[in-house]
Symmetry: C2
Subunit: 310 residues, 2 copies
Amino acid sequence: MVAARNTQSVSVWARESDVARSIAETHENLHFLPGVKLPTALVADVEIHRAASADVLLVAVPAQALRATLALLPSKSVDAKPVVICAKGIERVSGLLVTEVLKEILPRAVPAILSGPSFAKDVARGAPTAITIAAEHETAMRLQATLGSDTFRPYASSDLTGVALGGAAKNVYAIATGIADGLGLGESARAGLLARSFAELVRLGTAMGAETETLMGLSGLGDLVLTATSRTSRNFSFGLHFGQGASLAMLSSKGHPLAEGVDTAPALVKRARMAGIELPIAETVAAILGGSLQARDAIVRLMSRPLRKE
Amino acid sequence: MVAARNTQSVSVWARESDVARSIAETHENLHFLPGVKLPTALVADVEIHRAASADVLLVAVPAQALRATLALLPSKSVDAKPVVICAKGIERVSGLLVTEVLKEILPRAVPAILSGPSFAKDVARGAPTAITIAAEHETAMRLQATLGSDTFRPYASSDLTGVALGGAAKNVYAIATGIADGLGLGESARAGLLARSFAELVRLGTAMGAETETLMGLSGLGDLVLTATSRTSRNFSFGLHFGQGASLAMLSSKGHPLAEGVDTAPALVKRARMAGIELPIAETVAAILGGSLQARDAIVRLMSRPLRKE
């Protein structure tokens, strides 16, 4: 929808043929964005090669499905072409950021990433939204012009690592604050947890070469705040239900939308260990979801660590 | 209540004699915290000299009333004694931080400040809460031990400027996000505004000699997140009603609890100008409250500033 505001033709490839069909026939994504009329300039397709012939590709699939999806693209079709990753997460098997997966699978593409505080429903209804697009300078400027509008404001960055890390980590921390809320610990506890989550993100990001400005910006702190305080967020909502006693199995079953943080929590911990960084909150989330810690004990312990200097 | 958990005797002085009377007679603060049973070790008084004879003083009055309240304390009674400011704001007439007002009025007191994400209702019911206490090292450690408990965790800091500034600024930015919510701009817009508010705080704080760790910590980011996303916050709530069309006069009348940010907005802008720093969001809030800008136009314009690098 954002791209179709500014460009002549946008084609959507969808893995699920019924999603493509519902868009093609009704101009509505009945599965993932029901009730929103899509622009007629937007054409859906189940044939990836046609969509891949576009000037710019945006890849919006779950992080754990990114590798397999990118592998469907003919390497030649993306030669020197911007491929904008819209996935948020860290690959569980490898500990790689989504931008690193892109470089591994399609090294000839021009890598880019779009991330920032933006619920699909806000973007769809034209509510003002500001996000970050990271790529090398020329590409970032071009994407900013291609996707920007009065209500959708992309800010350009060259820090792919910072943007990819912020987008991934926030889902893990949103599960933590969701669990705290589900346990009834109160808003003060949630805010304290969120501030410490941000400190973890900055520690890891700095070690990985991300810029502090990125981590403090829209795609870092901005998205962390949105995701970790709103019930509209899948990850916060997942944590909330988990904290209220729902099981992982129950929450992972059909009907519950994807919570990226479930897979990204252990992946984030893995990546942090590779960088020699400890992340008490992310490690706690991974241990709770892995079944080795009880949620209440673990979160309360996080909140009452020994008194020390901040 | 927090102090009474750890100490033999705590006495509360209150300006309003009916507040002191309700605490003395019913062990409940009927005016400001109804429904909460106060500890019996807590004794209320309308005679400030008796309360001032304690080993540690905590001063919890509105920022604009701080100077007058401190002036009631006999200078001798606070000699080499910790005076912990719990007020959050910047003095409107002078542009001074609350800690600076303390130093001006009671130069012989040992200055300290307590701030951080903590709603009174959460602290009162023993929900886990983590806050920051700033003072010179020995004093901070002593206050940490005096006030700390399993559920109320004070972290020690030596950065009085950073803690005082964070506590003041968050109320101004909470009004901004409240207005955005009142205008119906959506959660994505609010999160974007919050991330940029934090960037403003860091810019000003750095110029004033605050430590980045403080600004990123509980009393900075933590309290900003709590105040700027919760309807329990007086300042967010004020902004929300204002954004929905209520007038400043209506919201300032009796029955509405104090929104510190209303006075602190112009004071923060004044202080930033003294430091040579521009604060687009705080300036917008001050101009809206001052009547020189329309809320909707101003906030939407903030969200759609020209595309540029973040």
